[in-house]
């Protein structure tokens, strides 16, 4: 396979919506959704004569993000206009930052494909405003403009071309997302578009010192899509080069349905954004005290939580790392642990069944519908023997569908564990009678056969029998 002779080189531009209550230049709400054009005012609709006023929270959040990613914070910064025409951009320019971003020269640490620590350099983080949205369907070929999102604050986080595999990109993005969640500056909801990544991809022969020509891929709205898009694009570029062709520098749109990238615009349309300093806003000047104060008040970061989980809760390094990868997971863990005191059991549930369901449903930890209290209650019910772990699994599934007190769930569903000796004995006798071969195996010294018999009994009782009691009773009966 020719890919083996090539090295992938990637840099990312991540746009993350900041979770300030109001927009970046006016006091409209940033809330997602709402009827079209209801979260708007003359300023974010770009009525003639209106002027922007910079939301100080946006600067604070961006500085937080910069500090959490080891950036230098610029004490003298400014806004610039990026000019282009599009119906979702009401002023015909986006207020962004060009040559003096708020944050520069940072890095975050990830693991490479071999599991070794690796620093990915962050070139810059700057603040800018989001555009509105166009609704293309349902209106007889017309497009309608919704400006609810226009003016929602964004930070753009630009990395150096330090990433070498789709796995690294995936870990970089998840780490970045986790950091932004921890410092509570962004909800990072990919489906709602509040966390979006553009990937610059190029390939070069292994050992080459110069970068190849890069393409920029847009429109990937899940981690899975990003991985697929990178693999597709890397293969495509290698094929082009192997066939003696040349890579065109262009912007590509990923189509998740066909699993292919498409060219977004031709070269003739190469945009000249005519950046220039925004004359309607004064320069952003930050005092050292202001920056120091934000630094001193940054919340606990994942690394620190990880250490704590290992020492305080005896979790393995891997468990601690997985739990702290998401602030939401970590918060549920801490909340449930505090109530039930069984860190190991809480961690197990979160990292096995709950993570599996999240994966299957393509949900993120922030989408978990139930609370830490619910999870703690589940652990307690199992500890007390009210339900078995097998029923516990069913409760978890149910919690995703219909989040409420697990005690109520098991009552409603009739899942309370059978711990009555008479009833258990009845089942055990039935299973022994029906499985003579396993009984013979057990008597011949195959201890494992007991497990099979217990399993059959659990099946018979739809998981409600107390497994410890079953185990004990089979052993007694077969003595």
């Amino acid at each position: 396979m020719s890919r083996d002779n090539y090295e992938l080189v990637m840099g990312l531009e991540v746009h993350s919506e900041l979770s300030t209550k109001t927009k970046i230049f006016c006091s409209c709400p940033t809330e997602f959704g709402g009827d079209p054009n209801t979260h708007t005012c003359p300023i974010c609709m770009a009525m003639p004569g209106t002027l922007p006023v910079l939301n100080e929270k946006v600067v604070e959040y961006a500085v937080k993000a910069g500090l959490a990613t080891n950036c230098e914070i610029s004490r003298n910064s400014k806004n610039d206009r990026k000019n282009y025409f599009y119906p979702d951009l009401p002023k015909s320019y986006q207020i962004s930052q060009f040559d003096k971003p708020l944050c520069e020269h940072g890095y975050i640490e990830i693991e490479d494909d071999e599991g070794n620590p690796k620093k990915v350099r962050i070139t810059r983080i700057h603040i800018e405003e989001d555009a509105g949205k166009l609704n293309h369907s349902d209106f007889g070929g017309e497009s309608l403009v919704d400006l609810n999102r226009a003016g929602v604050p964004l930070i753009e986080i630009v990395s150096e071309p330090d990433l070498r595999s789709s796995g690294e990109v995936d870990r970089y993005l998840k780490k970045l997302k986790s950091i932004l969640e921890y410092i509570e500056v962004s909800d990072c909801k990919m489906q709602e578009g509040s966390f979006r990544a553009d990937v610059n991809v190029s390939v070069r022969k292994k050992g080459a010192s110069e970068y190849g020509t890069r393409t920029e891929m847009k429109n990937m709205n899940s981690f899975r899509a990003i991985t697929r898009a990178i693999e597709y694009e890397a293969d495509r570029q290698v094929d082009v080069l192997e066939d003696g062709g040349k890579i065109e520098q262009e912007t590509l749109r990923w189509d998740d349905v066909s699993g292919k990238t498409f060219s977004m615009r031709d070269k003739e349309d190469a945009q000249d954004y005519r950046y220039f300093p925004e004359p309607d806003l004064v320069a952003i000047r930050l005092s050292q005290e202001y920056i120091d104060n934000i630094k001193a008040n940054l919340p606990e970061m994942p690394e620190s939580r990880r250490e704590r989980y290992i020492t305080d809760f005896n979790l393995t390094e891997k468990e601690a790392r997985l739990l702290t990868a998401s602030k939401y997971l970590s918060n549920i863990f801490e909340g449930a642990e505090k109530i039930c005191g069984n860190a190991k059991a809480v961690a197990n549930w979160l990292l096995s069944d709950i993570s599996r369901i999240l994966n299957e449903k393509e949900m993120e930890p922030s989408d978990i519908p139930f609370t830490a209290e619910h999870l703690a209650k589940l652990v307690e019910l199992i500890e007390k023997g009210t339900i078995s772990s097998a029923i516990g699994k069913k409760v978890v599934t149910e919690l995703f569908e219909n989040p409420k007190d697990p005690e109520e769930i098991i009552k409603e569903k009739g899942w309370i564990q059978i711990s009555d000796e008479g009833a258990i004995k009845e089942v055990v006798e039935k299973i022994i009678a029906a499985n003579p071969q396993s009984v013979a195996d057990y008597k011949a010294g195959k201890d494992k056969a007991i497990g099979f018999l217990v399993g059959q009994a659990m099946k018979e009782t739809k998981g409600k029998a107390n497994p410890q009691m079953l185990n004990k009773m089979f052993i007694e009966e077969l003595k």
Binding site: P48, G49, T50, N83, R274, F276, D280
Partner: protein
């Protein structure tokens, strides 16, 4: 009593003494508009009915003993680039022919707070780009002193309306001379405040770093009063200046003894009409006689101000006017089959030639490959201009120059020659570049009886000094007693 010939402070005295009421004042102006507007063509939109209604309300309130602002019931005219809720704001452009703003500009709110009554929206060069008001989409305003000449621009409607006594005072806006030059052409007083003194919120932007709203009035005291009303920090405009409020009327001391006046000689050189120069020299003698210390000096960077101005102003305009795209409001072409055509045709059909010229210029100077040579260089020169003015104000209290190299020119003589039109701004643009305040007051008329304007330039936020210097000259020279346009001889 000839109401419309009175200044605002004279009207206020009579209101205070109850010799007159708001309905009488407003009625006099409405009658005057009905009589003379057809000759002057100063208004884009008149709101006479509404003005009469408000005048009645105010008189009723006064009769009921309500305590109102001393300005309550005084009429005004507003340049048509300041947003007024409910009354269209056109910027004299086809693009905004039927545009009604959903909100009031900050200055309009301030007028409303004082219960000052708007008589309507005044004509201007389209989007304030021009020096003759000939680039209005709707009409060419005439200069009341000679109806065949231009009133100057871009606030030509405002200056002509004040000169023709169609309004007692007016608001204009000044990006490169658009208040001072028409004031000079029309023989009235025009003040461009320091950049940041008056909120720009609701002023439809031409060039954001240069635009400033200011008064156009019959005399200096009225200008000081109107500045009192409109000046002040606005949290909706972060470029507006936070400072304690001043009473500019108190600055009018009628005394210039010991005032240091600098005369930048570059403003009196080539291109200045000899009659203009002669009147300015007389004015300088007057100041000397009144006890001011006058000295000539060199401000040579000023010769680069015009080029710098046209680069910066056009660059900002090209971006500011992008929002007029036919999507949300304003003119939209009927002739399109895709988005590009919608943009291209709406903007091609909706903007006039001068606006298009400046958008193209501005787009060019910001383009990659040209940015450093034009926009960046212009910003560097801008810094030098500021520094040179800073140095001048270390020595002088005010600077004195002509407002315009010529008197009002005939309609149609320059409108097809953009470069010659741009030269009309040569004395005024450097103040906008440096953010300084300037006032234009009449200092005489030429052999044909056309007014000549003198510009007094102050240091940043030193409006008091130029207002006092202007007031002192005005009291000595008594222009209003000596000269009047025929249109106002009753």
């Amino acid at each position: 009593m000839d109401i419309t010939s009175l200044t605002v402070h004279e009207l206020m005295e009579k209101l205070e003494k109850k010799e007159i009421n708001s309905v009488e004042i407003t009625k006099a102006y409405v009658d005057r508009i009905n009589d003379k507007e057809k000759d002057v063509k100063a208004f884009v939109t008149t709101t006479c009915d509404d003005a009469m209604k408000r005048a009645k309300e105010i008189d009723n309130k006064k009769e009921n003993g309500e305590k109102l602002s001393p300005y309550a019931g005084i009429p005004i005219g507003i340049k048509d680039n300041m947003c007024t809720k409910g009354v269209r704001t056109t910027c004299s452009s086809k693009m905004l022919e039927n545009f009604i703003s959903p909100y009031d500009a900050t200055v309009v709110e301030k007028l409303n707070d004082e219960q000052i009554i708007s008589l309507g929206k005044l004509n201007m060069d389209e989007f304030a780009m021009g020096a003759s008001t000939e680039y209005s989409y709707f009409k060419k305003t005439a200069n009341p002193w000679n109806l065949n000449t231009v009133p100057g621009g871009s606030s030509g409607g405002s200056a002509a309306a004040v000169a023709a006594e169609l309004v007692p005072w007016a608001l204009g806006s000044d990006t490169g001379g658009s208040i001072r030059q028409p004031a000079s052409f029309c023989g009235v007083v025009g003040l461009k405040p320091t950049y940041g003194l008056v909120s720009r919120y609701g002023l439809v932007a031409f060039a954001s770093s240069l635009d400033q709203i200011g008064p156009i009035t019959k005399d200096v005291r009225d200008a000081a009063m109107l500045l009192n009303i409109i000046a002040g920090h606005d949290e909706r405009d972060t470029t507006s200046y936070e400072a304690p409020k001043k009473d500019y009327v108190k600055a009018l001391k009628n005394d210039v003894k010991g005032l240091k006046i600098g005369i930048p000689k570059e403003y009196f050189g080539e291109g200045i009409n000899p009659e203009v120069k002669a009147k300015l020299e007389e004015a300088i003698e007057t100041y000397k006689k009144l006890g001011a210390e006058v000295e000539e000096f060199s401000l040579d960077i000023a010769t680069y101000a015009l080029a710098t101005y046209y680069i910066i102003a056009c660059a900002e305009a090209s971006s500011n006017l992008g929002r007029f795209d036919g999507i949300r409001y304003g003119y939209r072409t009927e002739n399109f089959s895709n988005l590009k055509e919608l943009y291209r045709n709406s903007r091609s059909e909706g903007f006039g030639p001068e606006v298009k010229r400046r958008i193209i210029l501005g787009t060019y100077v910001l383009s990659s490959g040209y940015y450093d040579a034009y926009y960046k260089k212009a910003q560097q020169v801008r810094t030098l201009v500021k520094k040179e003015f800073d140095r001048a104000f270390e020595k002088y209290d005010v600077l004195l120059t002509p407002t315009s190299p010529t008197v009002a020119f005939e309609i149609g003589t320059r409108s097809n020659n953009p470069l010659e039109m741009y030269l009309a701004d040569i004395c005024t643009v450097s103040l906008n570049i440096a953010g300084l305040p300037g006032i234009s007051i009449p200092c005489g008329v030429n052999s044909e009886g056309m007014p000549i304007g003198m510009q007094l330039i102050g240091n940043k936020f030193e409006e008091e000094k130029i207002l006092n210097a202007a007031y002192t000259f005005e009291q000595e020279y008594k222009f209003r007693d000596k000269y009047k346009p025929d249109l106002c001889k009753k």
